[in-house]
Amino acid sequence: MPEILRVNGVSKHFGGLMAVNDVSFTINAGETLGLMGPNGAGKTTLVNLITGKYIADSGDIQFMGHDITKMAPYKRCKLGISRTYQIPRPFPELTALMSVAVSALYGKDRVNQGLEDAATEATHYLEFCGLFSKRNVLGKDLTLYELRGLELARALATTPKVIFVDEVMAGLNPGEAMKAVRLLERAKEEFGVTILWIEHVMAALMKAAQRVVVLHYGKKIAEGPPQDIANDPYVIECYLGSCHA
């Protein structure tokens, strides 16, 4: 599998806190890479570095032959990087349809696309995420489960190569969580996207991911197939909270 994204010794600190500390890994095209770690491990910060919300203090990030370490977020999006948010961030005053249409319009520089073309395209992604009937509901009026779907629809509408999924199961009941996970699997099949999937729940990643990276206090402490990770005594120790990285 060809490598699509390479993170090289990336660090980021907030004041005295090293949120991400010299982390390196690669993502291969077509895989699902799991990213685990206890609360505050730096998972979201790492995604923010790759998608451009923050600029890394040191290290570099390569995406399909482009050095994107300091690139503006919107340019990274146009290259094919998209994300969802841990706490959903819908456009509160926009209808579901228009929120997705924004991504369809601006996610790539498309030839000859008008607002209506974008809206038509957006319905496809809404339908895929099971939100077609909610297309005219404002972002602020959607439930958490629907918002997760909307976030995914919005990310898919930019036609990305890689999606960074920041926790799909958190806050959902088991039935909804199951559906959300299945939706992600279907997205992968249908749109052929590569996924980096952050999750607290180990069990979910065990099934879905081909490889897992584990962060702890901003450091990468393990990487490998899920079974190995699950049996790694050091990782287990960290999850129980008794290790000191």
């Binding site: 998608t51 451009g52 919300k53 503006a72 977020p73 919107y74 999006c77 146009k78 998209s82 994300r83 948010y85 961030r89 456009f91 509160p92 005053e93 926009l94 209808t95 349809l97 228009m98 929120s99 249409a101 924004v102 991504s103 319009l105 601006y106 996610g107 790539k108 520089d109 498309r110 030839v111 000859n112 696309q113 008008g114 607002l115 209506e116 073309d117 974008a118 809206a119 005219n136 404002l138 972002g139 919005r154 930019t158």
Partner: protein, 345 residues
């Protein structure tokens, strides 16, 4: 560049971009009715109460300030509290060119456009750097600083008394007929602004404006070039507002910063936006007329106390009508930045 005229729309293709302009006569009825009412009102006032024409001019101009301000508010995701800065810039540019160079209004308009755009571009980074309270304070401060400058460089700006001897729009002819013409010109400017901003709010550009207004960071993550759009949405409305300064200068043939730059003037504009609903283009027209006539009424009843009453009224409005007077009327509908797609059944 390729222009294609279809039955219901004009399609313009330039490079890889496509712009669609819907021409749907079945949606033309209401705009025509509203324009008709405004024209009729102007003509009726001309015949029955010509001394009220200046109030109509005021109303049109207030609306014409609030309309681009609405675009600026959405497109930068922030409320600019100092649009009168551009009125000052445009007005002084027009006045100085008219007085010292003897240029007619048509030429000073070009100067005003350039000056307005220049100041807009110069100040647009503010909407990228500053946010929240800082943006509010800074935008509030600029007109006041400008006012100070007009006092410091009194030999240029003539401080308190203001510049006089600006060439009028029309010279000769009967006074009331000139007033009517000027009133119609102000109405034209207002309608033109409404047309421009309405078109923008219905174009695909509006999707990015609405996204920025809701959540800049997410908009940028979804591929919107936030900085570019903010600069455009700051500079062009600033230019449009500067034109109102040009109008004031040639309308009164005198121009002094003290009439427009202080907060009292801003308060009126703010109230127009409040009554109209924050980004309701059509609401601004209602707001403009409401405020202009309210001022006329208050001044005739309480005189100078009007300036004190205005903030009180604003406060009441803020508390009681968060969506504006016009918002009340369409309360049961979503605030539409974008047209809902109409599907023919």
């Amino acid at each position: 560049m390729e222009l294609e005229i279809k039955r219901e729309k004009i399609v313009l293709r330039a490079g890889t971009q496509k712009f669609e302009w819907h021409i749907e006569p079945r949606y033309w009825r209401n705009p025509f009715i509203y324009i008709g009412i405004l024209l009729l009102a102007t003509v009726l006032v001309y015949f029955f109460s010509p001394q009220t024409l200046p109030t109509l001019v005021d109303a049109n101009l207030l609306a014409a300030i609030a309309i681009p301000l609405g675009w600026m508010t959405v497109g930068t995701g922030r409320m600019n509290f100092g649009p009168q800065f551009y009125i000052g810039a445009g007005g002084y540019a027009a006045a100085l060119c008219s007085i010292h160079l003897g240029w007619p209004p048509a030429v000073t308009l070009l100067v005003t456009l350039v000056v307005g755009l220049m100041f807009g571009l110069l100040m647009s980074p503010l909407s990228i750097i500053a946010g929240g309270l800082y943006y509010t304070l800074l935008t509030l401060l600029f007109p006041l600083v400008f006012l100070e400058i007009t006092f410091i460089y009194t030999d240029i700006f003539k401080g308190d008394t203001g510049l006089s001897g600006i060439s009028p729009f029309l010279s000769g002819g009967s006074y009331t007929t000139n007033q009517l013409m000027i009133c119609l010109l102000s109405l034209f400017i207002m309608l033109l602004y409404m047309f421009i901003v309405d078109k923008i709010m219905r174009s695909k550009f509006s999707a990015s404006l609405a996204a920025i207004n809701d959540d800049e960071e997410v908009a940028e993550a979804m591929g919107v070039n936030v900085k570019k759009i903010k600069v455009i949405s700051f500079a062009i409305p600033a230019m449009m507002i500067a034109v109102i300064g040009w109008f004031y200068a040639h309308y009164y043939t005198t121009f002094s910063g003290i009439s427009y730059l202080p907060l009292t003037f801003m308060l009126k504009v703010l109230m127009v936006s409040m009554i109209g609903g924050r980004v309701q283009i059509y609401g601004n027209v209602v707001g403009g007329y409401f405020i202009a006539f309210l001022e006329l009424f208050l001044i005739s009843v309480v005189g100078d106390m009007a300036t004190v009453l205005f903030p009180v009224i604003l406060l009441v409005l803020l508390l009681s009508l968060p969506e504006g007077l016009f918002g009340l009327y369409r309360k049961r509908r979503y605030r539409e930045y974008l047209p809902t797609l109409h599907v023919r059944r």
